[in-house]
Symmetry: C2
Subunit: 325 residues, 2 copies
């Protein structure tokens, strides 16, 4: 087991090993994490999501450097995007390149491998964030790829959620629809030097107005209505490759951060995140206990009946639960 | 409760209402489904995934029409992609347009709204597929947006998984990395008339070779090694907008379908899907039972201790479980 004090003292090697234990769901990792948990709650979590091809990773890279130099706090990146050059799945070895980019020991980058089990990624991401929080990182940027349900969920549980778009990705602003827009605290149109950027900004603003329930006709020059939290998500433009517009995004993050503090919404988001984490762990724990308390035969029999289409999965579960009152 | 015989008799209105009940997780929907379950197991499930901007929905549209006319079987589409014009979240009302496109009563399109709970989407999608299966649809196409973990999982549980790419989506073939490629039975490069299509095909073939563990140097003209299932995923080209290459994709789907039958892998995929469904339902059932058996206070107290950072979520769950042996 990794000694918690080493993590608190800023030992990066110990931290990296702890994160690996958490990712592999090793019990000793969670033991260390439990000992560290009282030291969490200080970090500001920024979720960054959006479809592939928006230059999200370049933007994240710029934000990391700007947040680091402007606030002097330690900055960590958790990349959950399987298409991100930060992550291990990359074919071209960009992972190493990205890590080399940051010679600053105050910056820590961690890529998360996608796990087989549904919900597993959200759970381990949450635990990894807790570990980084305890290790003293004041900013934790969680990069996920948009449009996926699990990824939107992960981004949504952050304190500040930033949705990235770019001009010319298919028909209008494809991936911005439905639940994704509702999750956004900030919208960023990256690659804003490309043709069509004005249109993308306009579509986003119109969508925000629709989402905020404004009944009046769409006016591209109007600001979106404030949401029920009293925060109107701004639409910002960046050219991350050239470093343009980054300071304005950092300004907006800091502004949102202050807004959450003054309105008390920060506590609400923390509670929401921890409640979801607790319920997910409880569900897992109950299932694990059930499976270990029952013979393989019980479950195997239920499965065979389902395979043979004799009972439906719902009925099989009802019977399993009834036998174990 | 909707009478199961109406579904079996092909009543589309009853089917639509049943699917709504399932999506809303109403108990009577699952009662009807349990009665229908013995009639499932006939459909061939085709998962179709890929990043936004690849023209995936246009491809699905063409595949539906071609499968319908070539096999004479009933065809259903379940669209889980929040950015798909099939889904309800569309801003431009394409949903209605798409539905009007298909005047054939042998084609049924259903869009799934994204649900809040992690894993909820996978579960309801599975139930919707069962209902369509019982209703006599021989082909069920499940369209999800790629790169998201939940969506890849959903596509992976299909009998045949088709991954769609397009030239020029960001840096090379972004979203094709990691777990997504492994899930593919067929790869389709759509918009193959665009510049860069040859390169996209080459990158995909090279990635397949890497994934299949071939040690020899990359040769763009070589075929990928067969996977352990004895199936080498082909890389096909389409221009869905013009209907080009669609017949070849349908040929490949039929070929894969026959391959699964002759090798007995179809049964294996079915078992995998139903097992996952059963375990997910069991976990939900156990959690629901636990929450109803315990007072709000018990859980509330645990939550307060976690909020106060006195105990970690893991410790809180351990204590809750220990009290309820």
């Amino acid at each position: 087991m990794i000694v918690p004090d080493r993590i608190l003292a800023g030992d990066r090697l110990a931290l990296a090993r702890l994160l690996t234990q958490i990712e592999n769901e090793q019990p000793e990792g969670f033991e260390t994490l439990s000992a560290l948990f009282p030291h969490t709650g200080q970090a500001h979590l920024v979720g960054i999501t959006g479809p592939p091809g928006t230059g999200k990773s370049t933007l994240v890279n710029r934000l990391v450097l700007t947040l680091r130099s402007r606030t002097q706090k330690l900055v960590a990146v958790v990349a959950v995007d399987p298409s991100s050059p930060f992550t291990g799945g990359a074919i071209l070895g960009d992972r190493i390149r990205m890590r080399d980019l940051t010679g600053d020991p105050g910056i820590f980058i961690r890529s998360m491998a996608s796990r087989g089990a549904l919900g597993g990624l959200a759970r381990t991401t949450s635990a990894v964030v807790d570990a980084l929080d305890a290790a003293g990182f004041g900013w934790i940027l969680i990069e996920t790829v948009g449009a996926g349900q699990a990824e939107v969920e992960i981004a949504r549980t952050a304190h500040t959620t930033l949705v990235v778009e770019a001009p010319g990705l298919g028909d209008d602003v494809q991936a911005i629809k439905a639940g994704i827009l509702e999750a956004a605290d900030l919208l960023v149109v990256n690659k804003a030097d490309l043709p069509g950027a004005d249109n993308t900004v306009r579509v986003l603003q119109a969508s925000l107005e629709l989402a905020s329930g404004a009944r009046r006709p769409t006016d591209p020059h109007s600001q979106p209505e404030p949401t029920e939290e009293g925060w109107a998500p701004p639409v910002l433009r960046t050219v991350a490759l050239l470093g343009e517009g980054i300071d304005e995004v950092v300004d907006a993050i800091l502004h949102h951060c202050a807004h959450l503090e003054t309105t008390g919404r920060r506590v609400g988001r923390d509670r929401q995140r921890l409640r979801a984490e607790l319920l997910a762990l409880l569900g897992d724990g109950l299932l694990a206990r059930f499976l270990s308390a029952h013979s393989e035969e019980d479950l195997g029999l239920a499965l065979e009946q389902v395979f043979a289409r004799q009972v439906s999965p719902c009925q099989a579960v009802e019977r399993l639960l009834a036998r174990n009152r």
